[in-house]
Symmetry: C2
């Protein structure tokens, strides 16, 4: 699958027929059996296009989806115009060929997961060093999402600890990632405040043992959040929403909780309050009211630079923890499965690109459309 932005401010996502690639000496060739559509895949796939205006083209086997880019999206993707980019950050499958080195040969026949990009494909080569051999009893479907969400969740917890905080706030918290973070925080005894947008999502998370779940659409949200922060001392938040006032409201409530009972200071509480924006469910501007003193920070957060800073021993420990609990703590759930061709139907794209709770899909690259549809 390839995503191309044209100089006519249009994105075209299509399937390209290629020869099966040949692995290098330290690589394996994976027959990809499952690859999730994560929110982090959508930006590359559709480049911020307006999918309500998407049109279908091509043939049944080789469909092409086209959609126009609003001006801001066209500006933001100028540098990729004319380059057909491979899609799909992560996935899992069977090693069907290996490079020549001895260390690589022992992976032959194993089921492995990898986050090397280009996984929306029937076959893909990957460096053996980056492959996670799935434990017995974990198939490619269960192991397909073993990298992005699990490592992001653990990266958030590690960042919290590194920066001296002891409790967490998470937004859009009913997502697959949010549910996973809830399970990790319960396991590790970390107080977590989950912010969601509906009563149904509150119910979903409390049903999974979450203690502090707040609906940001309620009247009492600011008071409830302030009370929960006072109880947990959560001074760091990870925000998947990005746009609007949510990050600002979190900082306002942190400041209210921290300064309650203290003598007035025009500079606010000296305790640092941090919001990291790691997603962009709302693409509008982030608006900060700055009524929360001067000891605050808002910044971008991404898994890759965190891992680069963390270093290999820590990454290895994180991966081992994930591998040991792929069907429990780090399990993902999907609304359905799609073949490569099905993923390029405008209706399907409009559904999975909503990134709403319960609309996460799995691509099954090596089944034909009929078999996948029958499920």
């Amino acid at each position: 699958m390839r995503s191309l932005v044209t100089d006519q401010a249009e994105v075209q996502v299509s399937l390209e027929a290629l020869d099966v690639p040949v692995p290098g000496p330290d690589q394996v060739l994976i027959r990809v059996e499952a690859a999730p559509i994560n929110p982090s895949d959508l930006g590359l796939l559709f480049a911020g296009a307006d999918l309500s205006k998407a049109t279908a083209g091509g043939t049944a086997d080789r469909p092409v989806i086209r959609a126009p880019l609003p001006p801001a999206a066209a500006r933001a993707t100028r540098q990729r115009v004319g380059q057909p980019l491979p899609c799909g950050n992560e996935g899992a499958g069977t090693v069907v060929a290996t490079g020549s080195s001895d260390a690589v040969r022992r992976l032959a026949g194993k089921t492995v997961a990898v986050a090397g990009g280009g996984m929306y494909a029937q076959y893909q080569c990957a460096d053996a060093a980056f492959c996670l051999v799935l434990p017995a009893g974990v198939d490619a479907v269960a192991g397909a999402a073993s990298f992005v969400n699990p490592m992001t969740v653990l990266g958030m917890v590690e960042t919290m600890r590194d920066e001296g905080h002891t409790a967490l706030i998470h937004t859009a918290a009913a997502s697959n990632l949010g549910q996973m973070l809830n399970r990790v925080c319960i396991e590790d005894g970390i107080p977590l405040i989950s912010i969601v947008r509906s009563a149904a999502q509150v119910k979903l998370l409390t049903g999974q043992g979450a203690q502090h779940v707040l609906d940001s659409t309620t009247e009492s949200f600011m008071d409830d959040l302030t009370a929960a922060i006072a109880e947990t001392s959560a001074t760091i938040a990870f925000d998947a929403v990005g746009g609007g006032l949510l990050a600002s409201r979190i900082l306002t409530c942190m400041e209210a909780a921290l300064s309650a009972g203290s003598p007035y200071s025009r500079y606010g509480s000296p305790i640092h309050k941090q919001v990291y924006i790691y997603g962009s469910l709302d693409r509008g501007t982030t608006d900060l009211t700055r009524n929360f003193g001067f000891a605050w920070g808002v910044g971008g957060w991404l898994l890759t630079p965190f891992l680069a800073k963390a270093g290999l021993p820590r990454i290895t420990a994180m991966r081992e923890r994930v591998a040991a609990s792929l069907t429990t703590t780090f399990a993902s759930s999907y609304a359905g499965r799609l073949s490569l061709a099905e993923a390029l139907q405008p209706d399907a794209a409009a559904t999975y690109a909503r990134t709403a709770t319960g609309t996460k899909y799995l691509i099954i690259p090596n089944e034909n459309a009929t078999a996948a549809a029958a499920r």
Copy 2:
């Protein structure tokens, strides 16, 4: 001088007659001869009130200025309702009495500068340890502003170095503080990009040797800023404006300069871009467009926590540098002088509270109104 926020959403600033205070064993009593009105004083003084609706009251000797607080200002100052707060962060004067300890007695008769608060007063006690003895040839007027602006300027430069940057961007850069930062950067060989809001301010700073001065009101501002960042590699900015899109535009230009010529990455340049907001000339929301990748941070910056982190040896070195150049590098200039009573006239307050370039005033607490007005 005392500032009081009432429960009727009004600020009242007035003069209170007090006995001359008696210094503690390790304190000195200072006859205050000059105290600047810094932007950082105005928040405490007027609590965000609407000064266009200010009214004068009291008597000629003991005037009272009253002004209503807009709802947001009233909310932000709830914790100080009913407490008359002393005003004036810093100033200088003569030590007219000392505490009993030997170390303190040798300050008798000296001209000292101090940033201990409550300096809009005829007499004020201060801890001797925090007093800077002004060098020969530097009087109280020249030494009145020897703490807030000079230490802020040096704190910015030190923060830049601590966080691994090599060049600086500064906004509202024609201010006293901005001119001082320009002189320090020239001395230290640090590339500085100064952002101002008029051609006259461009001329002012270039006349003082500044190399990169950009007018944010021009059509070509974004292109000019991107080019200046590409030339200087400035990846940290200190922003006194706070509200609006300026911080966001700076990050956008940093990203454009950093990613120029690189292959497309949907996550943007991996080089961290930082904007610290240290003022609030625009009290509106800070709006971030987030079209600058994920390696960015926006945060509050204040002198006091910086100094707390820096530690005493570094603070001492900074203070020594300031003391040695108070009439050159670290000199301030004033639009005029005001007595305590004059500072409480609505017309005067409306002028100095504008915090526009060239409207910085000095309070002379121990002259009567007539003498000060004659100058």
